[in-house]
């Protein structure tokens, strides 16, 4: 039973457990507050029971504390850069009416999701499992917007700046880039709707970049500027932050123009499954069925199966997958069993994707606490 709480909230740093509170930002339900300013709020696991995460339950993550309130009428999206034929200004109405609207369901997951559960702990926002959500995004294809501006064929990266600013001028502004090939992907959007509604302020109103399959650091919120670049973007948030030691991980999409000798940018989200309807230490009755519900997702290859173990990982049984909402979406799943004997039971859930990848048992350590896709374990009691 020693490892039962391995990836439950109890594994968070002591200080993170002491300082977390349930708190509601304006327009949001009460979420788990990790930090007030800049606001970093995670979604409680029980809110991730369903395939779509409601807007008022969607996690909130900001790097910089000066977050303006944007008026839709005053907002302008400027497209430029040295790989653009000319500068272009778009209003929100133009973005909505002059480009073909595209809808897709995609997981938005913070690169640091589950950082707080890694051992040994690493500094950062100490997220448990809930810096992730799944929404139906509607917007214009980024490639259509870029085509309007006219982009030179030598383009290397597309950079995004949001309306948020640092408190001090000396602090690096949060500007991110993606490789041109990913920017030109049909699924990469400038999104202005989330689950059929305007984006909540805290999730990037009036528009954010949606990069399906890639971690949320690239999904720039309150986007105000898009630059097509002939050379790799410079700046702390791309050249230093959000990086992994090179060569330690299974290959994923590469961001070659930003790789250096020792590190490469984190790109894709990992294969993860979560049990969402059961809490650590919960009691059940012998002879009565236990229904385990959960979600699974990956970078867009698709979930092939989810397996659950009721004996701490010795044997595994298949769970029933829910409706497929698209390859970038959460996939819900369900598993039922009837415990016959009283005592402690360790539940483990693991997903496999269409590439044949299975979640790991041990985290591959990195200083930033990224890519924790160790199979979740929950300890329950049968009474």
């Amino acid at each position: 039973m020693a490892g039962a709480a391995q990836l439950s909230r109890a594994a968070l740093p002591a200080g993170a457990l002491e300082s977390e509170t349930l708190d509601a930002l304006p327009g949001k339900e009460r979420l788990i507050k990790r930090s007030f300013r800049p606001p970093n709020y995670e979604t409680p696991l029980s809110y991730l029971n369903d395939a779509i995460t409601p807007n008022n339950r969607f996690f909130v993550r900001w790097h910089l504390a000066d977050i303006p309130t944007v008026a839709a009428d005053a907002w302008r999206l400027k497209i430029g850069g040295n790989a653009a034929a000319g500068p272009l200004d778009l209003t929100l109405n133009q973005l909505k009416t002059e480009f073909e609207p595209v809808e897709l369901v995609a997981v938005c997951q913070c690169a640091g999701n589950r950082r707080g559960l890694v051992e040994p702990h690493v500094p950062g926002v100490e997220w448990a499992n809930g810096a992730v959500g799944n929404a139906r995004w509607k917007g214009a294809r980024l490639k259509d917007v870029l085509a309007r501006a006219g982009v030179k064929k030598e383009v290397v990266e597309i950079a995004f700046d949001g309306g948020d600013k640092p408190v001090l001028e000396a602090t690096p502004d949060f500007v991110k880039s993606i490789p041109a090939w990913k920017a030109l992907d049909d699924n990469t959007l400038v999104a202005y709707e989330m689950n059929g509604e305007p984006l909540p302020h805290w999730n990037g109103f009036p528009a954010r970049i949606v990069v399906p399959g890639w971690v949320a650091t690239y999904w720039v919120k309150q986007v105000v500027r898009i630059d097509a670049l002939l050379e790799p973007l410079k700046g702390y948030w791309v050249n230093t932050a959000y990086r992994l030691p090179k060569g330690k991980y299974l290959s994923t999409d590469r961001f070659i123009s930003q790789e250096n000798e020792t590190t490469s940018p984190i790109t894709e989200v990992d294969l993860v499954s979560l049990m969402t309807n059961i809490s650590d230490g919960q009691q059940f009755r012998a002879g009565a069925p236990v229904v385990v519900k959960g979600i699974a997702w990956d970078a867009g290859y698709g979930i092939r199966s989810v397996e659950v173990s009721i004996d701490d990982g010795r044997t595994w049984q298949g769970a029933e997958l829910g409706t497929d909402l698209g390859r970038y979406s959460f996939r819900t799943w369900q598993f039922a069993f009837t415990p016959r004997e009283k005592g402690a039971v360790t539940l483990t859930a693991r997903a496999m994707n269409t590439q044949g990848l299975v979640q790991t048992e041990r985290w591959i350590a990195n200083g930033a606490g990224y890519r924790n896709n160790v199979a979740q374990k929950i300890g329950i009691r049968i009474a």
């Binding site: 708190d23 500094p123 408190v167 690096p172």
Partner: protein, 97 residues
Amino acid sequence: MKTFATNTMAVLALAIAGAAVADENSVRLKDGPDAERVRALCSVCHSADYIQMNARFLNRAGWEAEVTKMIKVMGAPISEADAPKIVDYLTRHYGTE
């Protein structure tokens, strides 16, 4: 080198500008020498719960690295005289030592 007094003035100005986020005033740092200095200087850019949630797994070197990052990378207006005092406070109250 900036003095503690000028930094405190800057903090007050920012506290007024950022008054919308009132709940961070509920965050209580542990009492001790330099607690107020830590609150004043670190709170220029972020609420003090950033310190709390990163407790208690960093040793002195770990906290020193964080404070250095805040100064060198994030441009925190922390003087050479104040930096070791902040590291001392964080290590004692929010560290492993």
